[in-house]
């Protein structure tokens, strides 16, 4: 028995030994006993310091304390469409953390779990600010847990307050005679002040605005704000109101903690307080939050709920406070350390009487109406009572689904009442205003397909908001012309199936208001289409700025000048205000003094090329003298001369220049100092001009066609580059250099400086012949980041050369900064359109032009040169003859989609072989009509994926040879499609 026991114990010990051995000598982590944790996949919308705190501190702390769960966070857009797409593939995450105003749409798609049913939900809810739950509830459930508290407070520049306390009322604020920064004078910006002045939007149940928004207190609140209009400083578009407060230009801005946690603005020099009130109203800030949701499809709901509870708890919420947000957890909010979050006290105080940011249960569907009402009242266009009365009825109409009342001062133009030109036509939909909308605005050369409104009935000169109600399945640009000048107006898809689903886009336009204004609408993008329901004009202000076709507004900075005050000022060098100077500032104090380096230094000069530059210095002075200019450490002298004859040191600009060498690699430095004692001058700005033996053609100096326009960038050559070269039929959007001033016949290297977020092909035409030139992306966000591509081209050098540029690829876009031409050799091999050429550039980016060879007497008809009817359009391919072929010959009754060649110049009558070069993925029948008579011409597939792979079919046809012959091409088979590259006629016999 003892032996057996011993044997058993030994066995156990040996088994343990083996296990321990295995653990000890295994190399794999799993063999070491590390467990595989359950993964909870989290998508969130945080960025900046919020992202860092969420991923690196909150999630890390949870993962550390949970041995069996690993949270895997990643920043995603969390857009409904993205989540729906991933759901369809069973690849959705488990948790979304996103702005609260998206919850409704997700609930509508049944994507979210009702968290109210979870164990512990009541405890979580009880621990958080109750008001936040007003935002979480949808359709009787609770589908999200608040993660933070975003509450509006008034943030002041402490110095601008001058030691005084933050004003408690708007009246006290106005008395300080400083400004409040706002993004716009609309409801979105002014709502916190409106509510604190006694205004209201809706009843507590969000069922009606009538009696609230148009109530006596609301009218008084808006009147109060309108009376203080001068108090508000509207910031430039794209800038944060808070930046003006930080800079001391404005006293106050209303904001929540996002400005600090995401935008990265520091709180130093700022103080926060409750938003000031007016009219004796109680303070009541606007509250918002981000929320945590669990996807209904999650297979790890239990673990996901554990994490949600953790996020709502004191530990996570305490960490969250570090990035500047106020926790949603009450205890954590009360415990926030003021050193971590100096504005927490103000946030907490603002919680008293706070109201939700979402003004209606339709997730702010009515904010557009409120914005316009507020703008009209604030700009003095209409009385507050009138705009609020109308707006309240509009909101109720939105909520009830009834017809929305219009402001009688707005001008509503039904598209079907405009003059319909070309192929535009009426379509019907019960959902359209007036039951009708207009389609067929497809772009064509000369814009024949358009809607025109002449003598627009507006009676005030000024700026109007032009609202365009449209429908489309695509993104594009509604080509709007206001008094003949095109204004871009981008649109996004409304329905992928071309059903009538309306949306409204707005742009600001200047109108004369004298009864002679005109508006025109046609598709701007050749490959995108939109229908238009109506347009509405809403008067915004009396500001009127005449539109100018194709010209950018001049900006002094656009000439590439560098202000001296932007340099590093050493010693006694100082920037002082100076009327008349560029930027209203000059630099003085660079006179020599013992042991004191008084100078201005510029590091990392924006010179882009290695070589000689002309340095031009603009200055003002009452005496002659010499500047010491130190170029990359090498001292050079630059004499200056008296400019101010009065001797009063008034500003009188003069310019001196010298030649200097620069490396052009971004590391060049320039230093400026006065060489001799007792001589003084005021330095204003300087320019650097590259001295180039090559010919530089600035894109902005070319002739502009179509929608081409200049854009500005300090990084662009001469401060400008050209955009809008988007391909359209017959290339109306292009720049052209005529009579290019090169004086030698031969081969030139053409260097094209461009910018793009895409890869594509710059369509270059050299003396009328297209030369492909591929480019790659330079910046994904369309910022001006230049790059240069090169091709070799033959030029005649007799002063008659012509260069044209437009986007070659219809779906790729590039801007052009400049074109540089460098003489390479006297070899001149002219390019031939559609023909083989022996020309070889020696660069990868250049390609042969393939196409049809043509014997004398043959008649080559490039499809793109025919008359294109209906929806036929050109497509590009480097393999196509002439770089183009024609698609869209789809059969329709009456054959409206076709290519027609009239008056073919056949020299004699008789039989001709008609070769048709086509491409298709199908078999079918090209419908050929010869002098009106159909001739069958079968074709077979050339490529199953619709790539441009050409093939040629031939038939014999009879021509009269009197110059009146006509050929037509359209798809014969309704369900088969072919593109046509070219047709060739070869005489056979008579």
């Amino acid at each position: 028995m003892k032996h057996l026991l011993l044997k058993k114990i030994c066995s156990i010990v040996l088994a343990a030994l083996l296990i321990v051995m295995a653990a000890g000598i295994g190399t794999g982590a799993l063999a070491e006993g590390k467990v595989t944790k359950t993964k909870v996949l989290v998508w969130h919308t945080f960025s900046g310091s919020e992202k860092k705190v969420f991923e690196k501190e909150i999630v890390a702390a949870f993962n550390k304390s949970h041995e069996d769960i690993r949270i895997m966070p990643v920043a995603m857009d969390c857009a409904l469409s993205t989540v729906l797409s991933m759901e369809a593939d069973h690849k959705a995450p488990d948790i979304l953390v996103m702005p609260i105003d998206r919850i409704g749409s997700f609930v509508g798609e049944n994507l979210l779990e009702n968290l109210a049913d979870e164990d512990g939900f009541d405890a979580v809810k009880a621990s958080q600010f109750a008001i936040l739950y007003d935002l979480m509830s949808e359709e009787g459930g609770c589908y999200a847990i608040p993660f933070n508290t975003l509450i509006d407070v008034a943030v002041y520049n402490q110095a601008a307050l001058g030691g005084a306390d933050a004003p408690a009322t708007l009246e006290e604020l106005a008395a300080l005679q400083k400004t409040v920064a706002v993004s716009a004078c609309d409801a979105d910006s002014l709502l916190p002040l409106f509510l604190n002045a006694g205004g209201a939007v809706m009843d507590e149940g969000y069922t009606t605005a009538v009696g609230y928004l148009d109530g006596e207190n609301s009218v008084k609140a808006l009147e109060t704000l309108a009376a203080m209009k001068d108090l508000f400083h509207v910031c430039e578009e794209g800038t944060s109101p808070l930046s003006g407060v930080v800079a001391g230009e404005d006293l106050m801005a209303v904001t929540n903690s996002k400005a600090f946690s995401v935008d990265g603005i520091g709180t130093d020099g700022l103080v926060a307080a409750v938003v000031p009130t007016a009219n004796g109203a109680a303070a009541g800030s606007v509250i918002d939050c981000e929320a945590v949701t669990v996807l209904a499809s999650s297979k790890v709901k239990e673990q996901a709920w554990q994490f949600v509870q953790y996020l709502a708890g004191e530990e996570a919420q305490g960490i969250l406070a570090k990035c500047g947000d106020l926790p949603a957890n009450v205890t954590a909010a009360q415990n926030v350390d003021a050193t971590d979050n100096p504005f927490a006290g103000a946030y907490f105080e603002a919680m008293n009487g706070a109201r939700m940011s979402v003004v209606d249960r339709e997730q702010n569907a009515v904010m557009g109406f409120m914005d316009r009402a507020f703008e009209k009242a604030m700009n003095g266009i209409k009385a507050p009572k009138d705009v609020l009365t109308l707006c309240a009825s509009q909101i109720d109409a939105v909520l009830n689904g009834s017809e929305i009342p219009q402001d009688e001062d707005d001008v509503l133009l039904e598209a079907e009442n405009g003059v319909l030109c070309g192929g535009t036509r009426v379509a019907e939909s019960d959902a359209a205003s007036g039951g009708k909308y207009i389609i067929g605005l497809d772009y064509a050369d000369g814009e024949p397909n358009k809607i025109v409104f002449e003598n627009v009935p507006v009676d005030k000169r000024g700026t109007y908001e032009l609202q365009i109600c449209y429908m489309s399945a695509m993104t594009g640009d509604i080509g709007v012309k206001v008094n003949g000048v095109r204004i871009p107006c981008a649109y996004t898809p409304t329905d992928p199936n071309w059903n009538f689903v309306p949306n409204v886009v707005s742009i600001k336009v200047p109108l004369k208001g004298d009864g002679t204004d005109s508006l025109e609408f046609c598709d701007y993008d050749a490959t995108a289409y939109a229908g238009i329901d109506y347009v509405k004009l809403i008067y915004k202000s009396d500001a009127y700025e005449e539109l100018v076709e194709g010209e950018a507004q001049e900006d002094p900075a656009a000439d590439g000048r560098i202000e001296f005050e932007s340099g590093e000022l050493y010693g006694t060098a100082v920037a002082n205000p100076q009327n008349g100077a560029s930027g209203d500032k000059i630099v003085t104090g660079i006179d020599p003094a013992p042991d004191t380096p008084n100078k201005v230094i510029f590091n990392n000069l924006p010179a882009k090329r290695d070589g000689q530059y002309i340095l031009k210095v603009t200055y003002s002075t009452v005496m002659d003298g010499t500047l010491e200019v130190i170029v990359n450490g090498e001292s050079m002298d630059l004499d200056w001369y008296l400019t101010d004859q009065t001797g009063t040191w008034a500003y009188a600009a003069g310019e001196v220049s010298m030649e200097i060498p620069l490396k052009g690699d971004g590391t060049d430095t320039l230093e400026f100092a006065i060489k001799n004692p007792y001589t003084y001058l005021m330095l204003d700005y300087f320019n650097l001009e590259y001295i180039n033996e090559n010919l530089i053609l600035e894109a902005e100096d070319a002739a502009f066609f179509g929608g081409v326009r200049a854009a500005k960038s300090v990084d662009a050559s001469a401060g400008k580059y050209v955009i809008g070269l988007d391909y359209a039929k017959n290339e109306p959007n292009k720049i052209v250099f005529e009579n290019v001033p090169v004086d030698k016949c031969g081969t030139y290297e053409m260097m094209i400086c461009y910018m793009s977020a895409m890869s594509g092909n710059i369509g270059v035409r050299v003396n009328g012949v297209r030369v492909p030139c591929a480019y790659t992306p330079t910046d994904a966000n369309w910022n001006f980041v230049p790059n240069v591509v090169s091709i070799n081209v033959p030029l005649k050098g007799d002063g008659t050369d012509v260069l044209e540029f437009c986007d070659y690829d219809e779906s790729a876009y590039a801007g052009i900064d400049y074109v540089e031409l460098k003489y390479v050799s006297d070899e001149y091999d002219p390019l031939i359109e559609g023909g083989h050429t022996a020309f070889w550039s020696g660069k990868l980016s250049s390609v042969f032009i393939a196409g049809a060879s043509n014997k004398p007497g043959d008649i080559l008809l490039e499809a793109e040169n025919g008359v294109l009817y209906g929806i036929t359009r050109t497509a590009d391919s480097g393999a196509a003859s002439g770089g183009k072929y024609v698609i869209g010959l789809d059969y329709a009754a009456g054959e409206p989609n076709k290519i027609v060649f009239n008056n073919i110049q056949a020299e004699k009558g008789g039989t001709y072989q008609l070769d048709i070069c086509y491409m298709s993925a199908m078999s079918g029948n090209i419908g050929v009509k010869v002098n009106g008579v159909r001739v069958p011409c079968a074709y077979t597939p050339t490529d199953p994926y619709w790539n441009f792979v050409p093939n040629t079919v031939s038939i014999n046809v009879t021509l009269k040879g009197d110059g009146s012959d006509a050929l037509e091409f359209c798809d014969y088979d309704a369900t088969a499609y072919a593109g046509i590259d070219y047709a060739k006629l070869v005489y056979v016999d008579n």
Partner: protein, 468 residues
């Protein structure tokens, strides 16, 4: 005695345990590496990658990973934008763009030092690493493999009383099967378009897809295309064998032989006949097409391309790649993560477990398996254990070492443009009998090789300049 035995056994156990632990530390187990890695991953597959990276973090407890998704614009555009803002990731995986572009920008870190110290690298087929080797340095690791394959309708095979072929079937067996399946009501295959391009490597030991030879960095249609082209033409010459050709009978707009034989359910669908169940095979398919094949209402299986005895299996393969960026904060940690997601044994075993556990009814994308890019024994075993994998798929995986790349645009500089303009636009002249194949081959070789030589030269000059 009893006490003594127990004491000795316990002491021995403790000693062994200590030795084991010490050995791990002394050998600097990679799992103990500390560091932070930022990784860019394709957003389309983000949740799978979240799980895979989560598994990595389980195994590497001292490494922290930050995930940065990039969208459908691709790695080239993403990295261009990141470079502008000096915010490059440490690692990027799932790239389907041109690797030469990223390498030529000077962004990509050579991996040779890491591979030299990586015992598992020997299980990555040398040919796969060679695809990413420029001027003697390896710049990326393969992942997400796919193969060109022949899908066979097993129900129709039964119906026609034909035997299911072996996975190492010969070209003759393939040809015989296609012929046997061609009847008045059925056809052998849907399309043969491009079949010759894919069959070049199967019939020639020296050439790859489209007669590209990675050794000489040139095309050789003149000498390597003829056998594959003859096979293609011989098959196409058999009336009714290729369903697609029957579409060409439509000369006057009336119903074609194709629709008369296979119906008019959706003639715009390039695979209508095969989907109708009346065609035995689809010879123009990637294994990833399992995503839609799973909706077929017949039993099917994916077969490797047929072979000839003297050459053996030479499949046409696609692959995405992952690489490390220069400036990675902790290169050792970055390499471990890169390896986990590409060629490493542990990562692939865990990934295969994830795929094995998926419920076939719960996955609409059809990705119930994937091809690992390593033949490490543990991975081979895990692959074999996946219940969703069929024999043909298994065969392709086991023979990836002799496969050639047919997605050459990802690894050969300038390939896409050259292939489009100098090959694809010309080759149909021969396929459709408009020109002699020999003349077409000569023209393609001359045009494409001139362009290709220049592209390689320009790329390698940039690479050398970057390395200086």
């Amino acid at each position: 005695m009893f006490k003594k035995v127990v004491s000795v056994a316990v002491a021995a156990a403790l000693l062994m345990a200590m030795m084991g632990c010490c050995a791990g530390i002394a050998e600097q187990d990679p799992h103990d590496i500390e560091g932070t890695v930022t990784i860019a991953v394709p957003a389309w597959n983000i949740t799978d990658l979240q799980v895979q990276i989560g598994d990595f973090l389980d195994a590497y407890p001292y490494i922290d990973v930050e995930i940065d998704p990039f969208g459908s614009e691709g790695a080239q555009t993403y990295l261009t934008a990141q470079a502008q803002t000096n915010s490059m990731p440490d690692v990027l995986v799932g790239d389907w763009d041109s690797l030469p572009f990223s390498v030529s920008q000077g962004w990509v870190m050579p991996l040779d030092e890491f591979l030299a110290n990586d015992e598992e690298a020997e299980y990555v087929p040398a040919s796969l690493l060679a695809d990413y080797t420029y001027l003697g340095k390896v710049y990326a690791l393969p992942m997400d493999l796919q193969f060109q394959c022949v899908a066979i309708n097993l129900d129709l095979l039964d119906e026609l009383n034909l035997d299911q072929p072996d996975y190492d079937w010969t070209v003759d067996e393939y040809t015989d099967l296609m012929k046997a399946a061609t009847t008045s009501k059925t056809s052998g295959t849907e399309r043969l378009w491009g079949f010759d391009s894919y069959m070049i490597p199967a019939l020639n030991a020296e050439a790859g897809y489209n007669a590209y030879n990675p050794e000489t960095k040139s095309f050789d249609f003149t000498n390597q295309w003829s056998a594959a082209f003859k096979l293609f033409k011989d098959l196409r010459a058999i009336p009714g064998l290729e369903a697609w050709m029957m579409r060409n009978s439509n000369v006057d707009g009336a119903t074609s032989d194709y629709t008369r034989k296979f119906g008019e359910s959706d003639a715009d669908d390039m695979d209508m006949a095969f989907k109708s169940g009346k065609v035995l095979s689809e010879s123009f398919m990637l294994t990833s097409d399992a995503s839609w094949m799973r909706y077929m209402n017949f039993e099917w299986e994916m077969y490797p391309l047929p072979q000839v005895e003297e050459v053996g299996s030479r499949q046409c393969m696609h692959a995405n790649h992952g690489f490390m960026l220069k400036g990675a904060e902790c290169p050792e940690a970055a390499y471990e993560l890169l390896k986990w997601l590409t060629t490493g044994a542990e990562g692939n075993v865990k990934k295969m477990e994830m795929y094995s556990e998926k419920d076939g009814d719960d996955v609409t994308t059809g990705y119930l398996w994937y091809f690992p890019s390593t033949l490490h024994p543990d991975v081979v075993e895990a692959f074999g254990d996946n219940p969703h994998i069929q024999g043909g798929i298994q065969y392709m995986y086991e023979h990836m070492g002799t496969a050639v790349r047919s997605d050459l645009y990802k690894i050969v500089p300038g390939f896409e443009q050259i292939n489009n303009e100098c090959i694809e636009s010309i080759i149909n002249d021969a396929r459709d009998d408009r020109r002699e194949a020999a003349a077409v081959a000569a023209e393609m070789d001359e045009k494409a090789n001139k362009r290709l030589a220049l592209a390689w030269l320009e790329f390698e000059e940039r690479l050398m300049a970057n390395e200086d």
